[in-house]
Amino acid sequence: MRSRINKGNIATIVWRIVAVGIGLCICMLTIGCWDAKETQDRNFVLVAAIDDADIVKKSESEKQIAKTQTFVQKQGTKEYMLSLQILKLAKNESKGGVQAEKTFVISDTGKPMFEMVRDMLGQSSKSLFFEHLGAIVISEAAVKKNGLRPILDFFRRDPEMRSRTKIFITPGEAKVIAQYNPPTGEPGGRYLDGLLRNHKKNIHVGGARTDMGYIIQAMDNGTDYALPRLDYIDNVFKLGGVFLFKHDVLMGYADEYLTRGIKFIFGTEKSAVISIKCPEHPEQEIVYELFQHDTKLTPHIEGDTIYFTLDITMQGNIGEMNCTATHDMHDLLFLHSIEQAIAQDVSQNARDYWAFQQKLGVDLPNAKARLKGYHPFEWKKIKDRWEEIYPTIPLIVSVNVNIRGVGEHD
């Protein structure tokens, strides 16, 4: 045996032992889970609510609390109050039959969101984890202060954030929305996320292209955007209408009727309902349930005239008839008159919204990009005068409505 171990073999054996040793050391260092962070060691943030710090501090007690929920800073101002709704991971115990709250809220005041988040660790025993952030609620007052970009910068810069996080604007206080515990028992973030997911069925809610990803894209491209309005009074939530932004500035509010117009232009509702007056009994109403909606917004240039055409095709059912008298639903003329009435209503609504946005100077359907895309050479001639031309551009609407069914029972 000894005779077989010559010098060369010893060197090989030593080298192999060293290599195995190095390999083991590297394995120890690399499989050591540097990034291990157990679920119970994290505080999951579900809602971020941002308020104007000056408005939130109303009463004396709130002023005292606000003094605790902040930090001494050498520079900058205390412009915003950031409140985070955090999921309680501990098992809920009901008190007297009442379900215990699943979330709690911590707040801080300052200006940079990241600084406030880090300062909040003074109120949280665990690190704050944003991967499950479902909603960002911002008060109208906070948005009016410096625009939306400074508020959202932290959320768009951090890779931990999701692209499909919902954003809401509330005319009231955002913090109370974060404090709300839904009756369904869901955590607030999931509840808000779910509220907006229903936008396809609710023609009064603008929910398409209003999440983080789309708003970031709109900011990057310098295009205008809309964010849904969320009202909260006395434990009652209500989504309806949208706030319109030009670049980064809040320009105005489009109510539920105008929001309908936006949705008709974009074609983003899938099972929404449209109510019109009954052609034979104008005091009564007929409800049309939409299940297929195609739109095409096209720019045209003829000589010096620029106009847009909007072609809408709708397919749907009669969902409800309030008329006290019965109608013959096999009467094709009557059905056609309903189709005509719906088409007129949709057409008028789209035109009303178009005029409204022109008045505000907002270009939500991105008419500028459409004109540039379809007519690049003509665009070069008019691009410097666009702001002046845009309010004068007419919209010609053509609506084709089809009634596919009249419901299960006539």
């Binding site: 540097w34 990034d35 692209s163 990803g213 894209q217 990057d220 990009a369 379809y374």
Partner: protein, 370 residues
Amino acid sequence: MENLERKGKMSPWQLGIISTSGLLTARLLSATTNVVIYSEQFLWLSSALAGVFFYSAAYLMIRLAEQFPEETIGEYIPRLVGKKFGTIIFLVFITVLLVNIINCTIALTTLSSIFLFDRTPHEFLVIVLLLAVVYCAMQNWGTILRVIQILIFALPMLYIFYSLIWLNFEPLNLLPLWPDNFIGILQGVAYHTDYYAGYESLLVLLPLANRGEISFARTVGWGFLVITLIYVFGGIVLIGSITAKTVELIHEPVIYGMKSVELPGTFIERLENYMIIFFIPVTYISMALSYFVVAEGCRKYLKYNDHRIFIPVFLPLIFLVSSFVDTPQRQAVFQHFSMFIALFFSFVIIPILLFLVWRKKGSDQQCEVE
């Protein structure tokens, strides 16, 4: 039964597949931003032109290598341009491939440190990846070939997964279709070196391929066509989903595009993490292949019997550079250096060498250089 590990040769189709499968790596993730800064929404057009551009370089390399069928670049270069210039050209060749390995390492570790292992020191991510690559490159060619042929299935998986971005596609983002900045599109072509990296390995791999009825130019051309189509459609869907302006402003636009995908009605979330996982084997192919080619090229050049001796030689260099280039500024500088050296090798050195061969031989017959 044939011992596949001892198999030292491959078919022309295998050559085409292997050499072009190494083109698509995680390098394209950050490079896309640079390309779009110039070519804007015409990323797809820029990628298509780049496919033709870089295939022309690969074609010239194949023509050059065909003049010396049984030799690698390190063996015939000294006879063509003299020992001194031959050494310099060989060093440039080795540098191009080492730079590819370093860039792949940087791309994968940066990606991992942002999205997966944010608290693991960068150096540890680098060393783990490099050790895995070294392990593969230390094998003989038959084994490496098999490893690549197995890992190559990650490529269609990656593309199918990436195709989910179509869910967010909006045609308006691609308009106008008529390009008005041709200069920008051409500038974007040059920045595609990260999209088409590593085909230089053909200069060492060609002698390992059996000559058949199908020409190498054709098999490699098919590989380039497939990869180019992947890039073209990938570019269309990326710009259509997240707009050219957004691509310009983010570091890993492909990952960001994936982040925006939400599969309705499923529990699968954060799809970008799955995509990163697919990028690891795809990039690994290019790294292992380039590392083997570097070692094999050195073996032939210095007339050694075993390529494995050269593997540990380059490891400290790759590790140090990959660890040092860990800030966006350094990465930008290194990316430019990589681009210029790769373009210089492919479009200056190779045409000159080919010209010298043709002048020396006076025809395109096989070379019998003294």
